[in-house]
Assembly symmetry: C2
Homo-oligomer: 284 residues x 2
C-alpha cells in the first residue's frame, strides 16, 4: 500500500484524509504541483517550488515549510514507495475553517498533502504514436497562470474527448488556442517555426514549457511565442504538447485532421529526446 504525506505524517493511503471543512474541498481553495521522477530522482524540483510559491502568493496563501523540507518529503515518499519512474504530487490548501466565502482573518494552518504515482513517462505509447486532440471552447476561469485545483472543466473536456475516441483537448479562446487540458500547446509551421502562445494569465506557465523553449533556442530552432489559430494548427507541419508527465508529446491529429504525415514529426521527436536527456542529467 502506498504511503502518503498529510500535514507532517506519513500514512497508509487509506488513512490519508483531510477535514470536510478543508477549503480545498469546499472552495477549490488550493494549489498544486506535479514533479516528474526519472531514475528515482526529481525533475526540475526548484522550478516547481518557485511556481508553487507564486501560486500561493497570488492567493494570499502561506506554505509553512521551506523548499528543503518539501524536498525531503519528496525524497522520502519516492524512497518508501519505490518510485523509479512516475510523479510526486503536492497540494497545498488554505486549511480548514467553518465554511465562509471570506478567507479566515486569523492565520489558518495550510493543509499540505503529497503522494506519489508510478507511471511510464518515458516509454509511453502515446509518446510514440502521437496524440489525437479535439478543440473545445476554453471555458475555464481566467487565471490559468495560477495552478489551482479548479480542474473540473479540463477533466470534463478530456473525458468527453476520450468518449469521442480522442486523447485530449486543445482549448480555444477568441479563435486562438490557449493550451491542452494539462499541457502547453505548440505547432511547427510550414516554414519550420515552432509557435506557442506567449505567457499570460491565459495559460499555465509550464515548467516543461520553459525547459523545452530553452532547448529549442539553444538548438537555434526558429521559435515564436504568439497565439495561433485552430486553422493554423490544422495546417501545421507538426504539433505537440509539453507537460511534466507528457514530456514532449507529438500531436498527430486535430479535430480529425491529420497533421503532417500523421506520425510524430522530427521537431517534436528531437525536442523530446533532448528534453529527456537534459532532465535525466539534471534530476536531483
Amino acid at each position: 500500500m502506498r504511503t502518503v504525506y498529510v500535514n507532517g505524517k506519513y500514512l497508509p493511503e487509506n488513512e490519508a484524509t483531510v477535514s470536510v471543512f478543508d477549503r480545498g474541498f469546499l472552495f477549490a481553495d488550493a494549489v498544486y504541483e506535479v514533479t516528474a521522477v526519472f531514475d528515482g530522482r526529481l525533475v526540475d524540483f526548484h522550478g516547481h517550488m518557485t511556481r508553487l510559491r507564486r501560486s500561493l502568493s497570488e492567493l494570499q496563501m502561506e506554505l509553512p515549510a521551506s523548499d528543503a523540507e518539501i524536498l525531503a518529503i519528496h525524497r522520502e515518499l519516492v524512497r518508501v514507495n519505490n518510485v523509479t519512474e512516475g510523479i510526486v504530487y503536492t497540494q497545498v490548501s488554505r486549511g480548514s475553517a467553518d465554511r465562509d466565502f471570506l478567507f479566515p482573518d486569523v492565520g489558518l494552518t495550510s493543509t499540505v498533502v503529497l503522494f506519489t504515482q508510478h507511471k511510464n513517462l518515458i516509454d509511453n505509447p502515446t509518446g510514440r504514436r502521437g496524440l489525437h486532440v479535439i478543440t473545445v471552447p476554453d471555458q475555464r476561469w481566467r487565471r490559468c497562470d495560477i495552478k489551482t485545483v479548479q480542474l473540473l472543466y479540463s477533466s470534463l473536456a478530456k473525458t468527453r474527448a476520450k468518449q469521442q475516441g480522442a486523447d485530449d483537448v486543445w482549448m480555444v479562446l477568441d479563435g486562438f488556442v490557449t493550451e491542452g487540458s494539462s499541457n502547453n500547446a505548440y505547432i511547427v509551421n510550414q516554414d519550420g517555426t515552432i509557435v506557442t502562445r506567449e505567457l499570460s494569465n491565459d495559460i499555465l506557465h509550464g515548467i516543461t514549457r520553459h525547459a523545452v523553449v530553452r532547448c529549442a533556442r539553444n538548438l537555434q530552432m526558429p521559435l515564436a511565442e504568439r497565439p495561433f489559430t485552430v486553422d493554423e494548427a490544422r495546417s501545421a507541419r507538426e504539433a505537440f504538447s509539453t507537460s511534466a508527465t507528457g514530456l514532449v508529446s507529438p500531436v498527430t491529429s486535430i479535430d480529425g485532421v491529420t497533421i503532417g504525415d500523421g506520425k510524430p514529426g522530427p521537431v517534436a521527436t528531437r525536442l523530446r529526446d533532448i528534453y529527456l536527456e537534459s532532465s535525466r542529467a539534471n534530476a536531483i
Copy 2:
C-alpha cells in the same frame, strides 16, 4: 460539538473527513447546495434537490440516494444540532480514485457530505443597512449555472472587497453585470422596473431568484429579465441581491456610488418581507 454527515455516518465534526484522493479535493469535481432553515424547517428543499440533480447530471455524476433519504439526513442534522435558524450544506463529489483527469470508467461511489451552520438570516444587520458592493471582472469559468465547488474566484473577490471596506462584489462580463459572489443581482430602474439578468450559463439559476421573481410577478411589479450595465446599476433607484442565506439583501452603494438615498429601498424591503413570509409558511 457539531454533528456532520459523511457517507452514511453521523460524526463529530473533528472526525468528519474525506480521502485526500477525493475528486472534490483534487479536481473540484463536486457540486453543492445550501438550504436555509427557518424555525427549524427547510426552505425550498425540493427546489434545491432539483437543482442538485441537474448539476450532477451536467457532470455525468450520480447521487446514490433518493430525495427522501437526503431530506431525512437534513432533518436529522437540524435536530441533533438544534438548528432553529441557519443552513444545511450538502456536497456531492464524484468520489475517490487515484488522481487522473479522466473520470474513472467504473462507477465510483459518490462522496456525500452534509453539515449545518447556525446563522442569523432573518435579523441580519446587512439586511437592514444594505450592502456595499464593488464591481470586478467576472473571471469565473463559463458554466456558472452548474453549482460546483470551483468557488475560488468568488471567494478571493469577496475577500478583496472586504479588505477594501466593501461587503461583496458584483461581477461584470462584457460590460454587463452577471451576479454577486454567491447571489443573484437586481436593480430597480428609475421607471420602477426590476431588472435582473436572464437565466443562462452565465449565472446561477438561483432558487431564491425563482421565488422572488414569482413574488414580484404575483404582485404585478414590472420586471424585466435582461442584462444590465454597471452604469445602469449606479444610476438605479434601488439595487438588491438574492440568495438562500441573504434572502433579499438591499444594496446601497456600488463602487462607492450611493444608490437611491443610500437606504434599503421600498421594492427590496417589500420583496424581502414577502419572500420571508412565504418561505416560512412553506418550509418543511
